[in-house]
């Protein structure tokens, strides 16, 4: 690696970026309307989606988009996201990472342990949200199948909310880290490129096959 630190290297291809934003935007919409449905004082947020009834009508459809995007996310990243010993080392140093004590942070590959955990967490939450969401979308169907539907559906509300809350917290962290805490990160999801310096700092064990001067290929993913 002797290229210039400022030189750009390719991190995410177009498909990955599209899927990321599909997940991101749909989740944000879901999260905000979900907040509106959960907190009377935030009900005005439904206006972002055309008012209460429309927001309510669109919410499950956006949920469907979210779920499909999540499925795509999963299939795209699944293989890269298995955690190994390196990742656990990294995770143990997460406090140092947060305090920018770079020297104390073990080197990470293309994805660090935090990102991998994030991936798995959102996968699990996605499944939970889908299942509970479907139940709440079709309560009559549930009632026709399950004898004590109202308790089940109330539980589904609880579960849906809990998963949303967890997702919301993850989203907050994700946005903060990506947009504010580590400048240069977000670019990876905009034009797909990051600087060599950024890569070195965050993913020193990552060995990208190419730099961004080349046309990216599918096997860029390492």
């Amino acid at each position: 690696m002797t290229t210039e630190p400022a030189a750009l290297i390719h991190r995410f291809n177009a498909a990955q970026r599209l899927i990321h934003w599909a997940v991101g935007i749909s989740f944000t919409v879901l999260f905000l309307t979900g907040l509106a449905f959960s907190y009377p004082s935030l009900f005005w947020l439904t206006n972002l989606l055309g008012g209460g009834p429309t927001a309510r009508a669109l919410h499950p459809w956006v949920g469907l988009v979210f779920s499909i995007s999540m499925a795509a996310t999963f299939s795209m990243w699944m293989r890269e996201m298995s955690l190994d010993a390196t990742d656990w080392h990294w995770l143990r140093a997460i406090r140092a990472y947060a305090q920018h004590q770079t020297a104390d942070v073990p080197p990470a590959g293309k994805y660090n342990g935090g990102q991998k955990l994030f991936f798995w967490a959102q996968t699990v939450l996605g499944v939970v949200l889908l299942i509970s969401g479907l139940a709440l979308w079709f309560p009559n169907t549930v009632a026709n199948v399950v004898p004590t539907a109202s308790t089940l559906l109330a539980s589904m509300r609880l579960v849906h909310y809990a998963a949303t809350l967890a997702g919301g917290l993850l989203l907050t962290m994700h946005v903060y880290l990506g947009l504010f805490a580590f400048p240069g990160t977000a670019r990876g999801m905009i034009d797909g490129k990051v600087t060599r310096a950024w890569a070195t700092m965050h993913h020193s064990a990552w060995e990208p096959a190419t730099d961004a001067t080349r046309v990216p290929k599918d096997d860029d993913r390492r």
């Binding site: 009834p53 920018h100 309560p139 308790t151 109330a154 539980s155 909310y161 917290l169 240069g184 310096a197």
Partner: protein, 286 residues
Amino acid sequence: MSTLSIKRISATASPAPGIRSTPEYAKLVDISSCIGCKGCEVACKEWNDLKVEPTANFGSYQSHKDLSAHTWLLMRFDEVEMSGRVQWLIKKDACLHCEDPGCLSACPAPGAIVQYENGIVDINHEHCIGCQFCVTGCPFDIPRFDKETKKVYKCNMCVDRVEAGLEPACVKTCPTHAISWGSKEDMLSLAEHKVDLLKDRGFENPVTYNPAGVGGTHMMYVVPHGNHLADYRLPANPTASPLPLTGLGVLKRIGAYLLGVGVLSSLVHYLTIGPQAAEDLHPHDH
């Protein structure tokens, strides 16, 4: 009905606007005097101009299999044997207008469900968002969703009639006076009287159905065989706040804190530790 009479209002952080003091009404259904004529069922549809639904006999005197957005009151017919004798249980099924309405507390749409000072629980359809959480929240399985309008409907105790000083249409039409109407207090004492009468007539377990789990109801029943509530399709211990929903309420509060803490701690991190750009780390590499 006037907003001056609203005692509780769904999904609204501010207090309900009701300042009026109106008597609390109640309907009392004496099952032992009900002959299942469906007069109330038809009167309900007539007064509220609910549309005729195509029905088909399904092996019962019961007209519809279930309540619907267009049938707010259904006479249910069940044949059971109790200690060797056939009983034909005929029950008027409609909204019980709980004092502590599970539908209202489950509703996320501001103002979509209100409770008036007189005890009537009503849906304001222009505010209903069609989430059906009230359906889930109701311990009596009463509200019904309409697929066309995407709103939920149920008995409104003829709130328009009551406001004008009239009894609900079902009460008006009942030919055997099996449905009584008056102040909650009067109906409670009438119920007590009717229960005593049933005991006199040899019934062993007559009860007034006014379940405490929902704070009492504004449609109460006198049930001749109170030890067979399930046969009447009446839950023995209905509650306005089932465990999951109580949990949800608590979690929502915690959630609000957590989300706030999440955002705030990001801000604190940004201000104290600050961002870290890769370029800052490697200036000497140039």
